[in-house]
Amino acid sequence: MKTLSLAMVLGFLPVLSGDPTEIGFGTLAGFDYEEGMELPSDVTTYDSTTVKISGFMRREDGGDGPTEYFMLINDACGCDGTPKLNEIVYCTMPSGEGVEIESDVVSVTGTIYVGEESEDGVVLGIYFLDVDSIGK
């Protein structure tokens, strides 16, 4: 069913395709997030769509060198306070690809998934993005 659906979508891409939707942290973090809440439609509307988000990269694990995973946040410093979960986009590179953490603002394009994901009973986050490309 998935394969057939994919073929149908690909066949009609000229009708549907467009550039990635640019969204900012003003939208993503524009509400007071509480665990278990119903997320506002302002953000759920982007679930499973291709988006482009600008922000600063940060390693989640505090290490250095290339990484397959990173957080995208709206703060170059991070000294003011730790970001809330709706202020973080967890980004995952394609399998086997690593990326160096950039010092500057980057624009990350990819498919975003909006919704709580948990591990060991803890909500890890609400925004997860499969990276297609990273630009300046």
Binding site: M1, K2, S5, L6, M8, V9, F12, V15, L16, G26, T27, A29, G30, D47, S48, F56, E60, D61, G62, D64, E68, Y69, M71, N74, D75, A76, C77, G78, C79, D80, G81, T82, L85, I88, Y90, T92, P94, S95, E102, S103, D104, V105, T111, Y113, G115, E117, E119, D120, V122, V123, L124, G125, F128, D130
Partner: protein
């Protein structure tokens, strides 16, 4: 040839159905990358296994799990303190091995147990502790008069966050003299301190900082080397006013919403409020051929923002920017100095592990800015920074405060003396 309208409609409907089916699949699976993200990890099952919780709060690979562990430590109150101290004692970095999440969680907790207060006080007084401002904020929340001297001293600290935390402490203790001292910080040269102090006052029921909160809207587009600090400050301001007004002011820079905020503040106070129209940076340093800049962020020593072009070096943010003009007879040498930086930044340099303090530097003609931890600037860059201080001193004279700032703030990024 354009398709028949009925055909186009059928095509679109079919595609929509296909997308819906894929979305349903996609939501369930989120692609294979979700599986890679969610590799199994363990958390402490025994809530009293504090050493294990401390370890996870500081070292777990997942941010949210570190946060959850830090919150458990905070809830543990005094019972968790020995484990936190033991963790600090066994690390060469001492307290600086602690994740900010841990310090924040303890600071924001409700515990006023002596062991917790003592821990926060030690952290707040430690001039070399990265997160001393957050620790001081924790003391402020507890409204303990014993710490008034610390709060007062903090209002004169080089760190903008530490000054704001000192203000928080004094507002918490209340009283007209303390409030007057805090009000003076509404004229702080750093706009980020002013906004945070105004937020603190608003949250405590004082409207004397409302003008500064509304004024944050004017700086909403202000950024430094791409970091949107102006937008973040507007978020704080809009939330603070919204709490008082018991409403939500959309801080997404919608002009009508910001005008609504301004009008509410004016009605509430009976005072005229600043315009919310954005204002440009008062000093424009944007010539792509000659501009460059760096920022030093230091939780310990305060931040430094420096930009330059062919004829000027500008220090600071927004309206507090101070400009040093390069004398005409020095401009050729200054041009050579800027060109030298391009060459320095063009080379690979190790970043080091950035915890809090960092130097971020860029120059015209260099594609990527460099971000370095203390001790990681190559000797040639450290020398370049020293020479820049010399330019400033030459322009302003030996008593130059700005030159002194450069001379005292940049050496921490130089390589260790035995590495030269």
């Amino acid at each position: 040839m354009r398709p028949h309208p009925a055909t186009a409609l059928a095509t679109a409907l079919t595609a929509l159905l296909a997308v819906a089916a894929l979305a349903a699949d996609g939501f369930a699976q989120r692609g294979d990358r979700a599986a890679r993200r969610s590799a199994p990890s363990s958390t402490a099952q025994d809530p009293e296994d504090w050493p294990d919780v401390v370890e996870k709060a500081n070292n777990h690979r997942r941010y949210a799990l570190r946060r959850a562990a830090a919150n458990r430590l905070a809830k543990g109150g005094a019972a968790a303190v020995p484990a936190i101290r033991a963790f600090v004692a066994k690390d060469d970095a001492g307290a600086n091995a602690l994740d900010l999440l841990v310090v924040e969680a303890v600071a924001h907790s409700d515990s006023a147990e002596p062991a917790v207060v003592e821990l926060l006080a030690e952290w707040a007084r430690d001039r070399d502790f990265y997160w001393r401002a957050q620790a001081l904020s924790g003391l402020a929340r507890r409204k303990l008069t014993d710490f008034e001297p610390l709060f007062v001293a903090a209002t004169d600290d080089p760190s903008h966050l530490y000054r704001a935390a000192g203000a928080e402490g004094l507002v918490g203790l209340g009283g007209p003299e303390r409030l007057d001292r805090v009000t003076a910080l509404l004229r702080d040269p750093d706009p980020r301190t002013r906004v945070r102090v105004a937020c603190t006052l608003a949250e405590a029921g004082h409207d004397r900082g409302f003008e500064e909160l509304v004024r944050a809207a004017q700086r909403r587009d202000h950024e430094f080397m791409g970091d949107p600090w102006g937008g973040r400050d507007l978020e704080l301001a809009a939330k603070a006013l919204g709490e008082v007004a018991d409403t939500k002011f959309e801080w997404r820079r919608d002009a009508a919403e910001l005008e609504r905020m301004r009008k509410w503040a004016a009605t509430h106070t009976g005072r005229a409020m600043p315009d919310v129209a954005p204002v440009a940076e008062p000093v424009s340093i944007t010539d792509p051929a000659t501009t460059g800049g760096f920022e030093i962020r230091s939780c310990r020593n305060g931040d430094l923002f420096v930009r330059w072009d062919a004829t000027r070096i500008a220090f600071g943010l927004s309206e507090s920017t101070q400009v040093v003009t390069i004398p005409p007879q020095q401009r050729a040498v200054w041009a050579d100095h800027r060109a030298a930086l391009q060459e320095i930044l063009g080379a690979e340099m190790p970043r080091g592990r950035i915890v809090c303090d960092f130097l971020r530097i860029g120059a015209a003609g260099v594609e990527n800015r460099s971000k370095l931890a203390p001790g990681n600037a190559p000797a040639v860059l450290a020398d370049w920074l020293n020479a820049t201080a010399a330019f400033v001193e030459e322009s302003e004279g030996p008593e130059s405060v700005l030159a002194a700032q450069l001379a005292t703030r940049t050496p921490q990024f130089a390589p260790p003396s035995d590495a030269r």
